[in-house]
Amino acid sequence: MWGRMNRTETAARLELKEPPEQFESRIRAAQRGEIDSFERIYRRFGARIYTMALRFTADAHRAEELTQDVFLRVWRKIGTYRWESSFDTWLHRLAVNGILSGLRADSRRFSWELLGEDVATLAGPARPTHPGRVLDLERAVASLPEGARAIFLLHDLEGYKHREIAELTGLAEGTCKAQLHRARRLLREALSR
């Protein structure tokens, strides 16, 4: 998975910025069905959505598919955007729902089950090839079991509260907390090796 990635570390360069009023016009044009304007929206948010999909799936090919699915969903629903929240927030919500739906629909078994007691299920890098702590964490997250990985990403990266995660996943709030607790413990152990 990691070998296929082209890394670009600077978010500001990827998320092409334009003046708010210009971006607002672009959204309205996309709502009218102008694909060229929608392309600008994709260019602005595409890397972010792909990155999120990649972290959830730990599979670059699947992440590409889910990224396209998310933007197809955005295209279909952009007419319902009512400017009640920021477009960023609105799109992010669609993306999370789209990615989680994709995970559940996967042919591979996707489980929200609690981590087993066996810490060895977290493969992790035996010896990090890159000294950067952020990249170490990226690799360690990819090694988490799917369900725990998703809850860690939703809570600690995407900022969702336990109540919201429970609604998204269908799990009890207490279960979400327990999974997060164990995911953090496994990650800290992997990073300390």
Binding site: T10, T51, D156
Partner: protein
């Protein structure tokens, strides 16, 4: 509080999700336990790194847009969009056609108002000359009845002309409906005044009320006519 209980609560402690009493007990334990303080620091470091990770972006190995664009153009992916969105119309058709329909309607109103004003010449202030000619106690009752009948006929003719013009343009139906609804309000006022006048034909106030109602109808037509000329 022992270490096991304290470590079970460290996640909630960091999120400020503990009740005040429980938070106090955790802090008391941390103040005397190096191992749990180290555990807390380790969790904090993980969350700091997670924040850095959240800002990191990864590009796909290839440009996804060409394929995405092809899928967007697929009619199956346009199903969720309304017919207006698919046609590139963000508003109902009658809104952007309204300006054309409004011009047709207002020209028709102007023609109708012009016809009425030629039939009943107005003073500069727009007041019906016949209002001042009516005096209680004289032959005004009979004269007023004839004038009212004639006014009825002329207003009906003008409204028929406008209605026919609106009917000729199917998209102007909504606009004519609104305009006609306003005229109907005045019709009701006129009917009620005429019914009262029948009971008290010499009443000058009722006479002026009826003529005022007709004046308002004419003013409405005149206003529409002026709007067209100003446009």
């Amino acid at each position: 509080m022992n270490c096991h209980d304290a470590r079970d609560r460290l996640d909630d402690y960091l999120e400020d999700a503990l009740a005040p009493g429980e938070r106090r007990r955790v802090e008391e334990h941390l103040s005397s336990c190096d191992a749990c303080r180290s555990e807390l620091s380790s969790i904090g470091a993980l969350l700091d790194t997670a924040q850095d990770l959240q800002r990191r972006r990864v590009e796909p190995g290839r440009d996804l847009w060409p394929e995405l664009r092809r899928r967007l153009a697929d009619p199956r992916h346009r199903e969720g969009r309304s017919w207006r969105e698919r046609l590139g119309l963000e508003r109902p058709r009658f809104v952007w056609q309204f300006s054309a329909a409004a011009v047709v309607l207002l020209v028709a109103i102007g023609l109708g108002a012009s016809y009425v004003s030629r039939r009943f010449p107005l003073r500069e202030e727009g007041r019906l000359a016949s209002v001042e000619a009516v005096a209680p106690g004289d032959q005004a009752g009979a004269g007023l009845a004839d004038q009212l009948a004639a006014l009825d006929s002329e207003v009906s003719l003008a409204r028929r002309q406008i209605s026919q013009a609106a009917a000729a343009d199917s998209t102007a139906g909504g606009s004519w409906g609104t305009f006609d609804a306003n005229l109907q309000v005045l019709d009701r006022a006129i009917r009620e005044s005429r019914a009262a006048l029948e009971q008290d034909p010499e009443n000058p106030r009722l006479q002026k009320t009826i003529l005022s109602a007709y004046q308002k109808q004419l003013d409405l037509l005149r206003w529409a006519s002026r709007f067209v000329h100003q446009g």
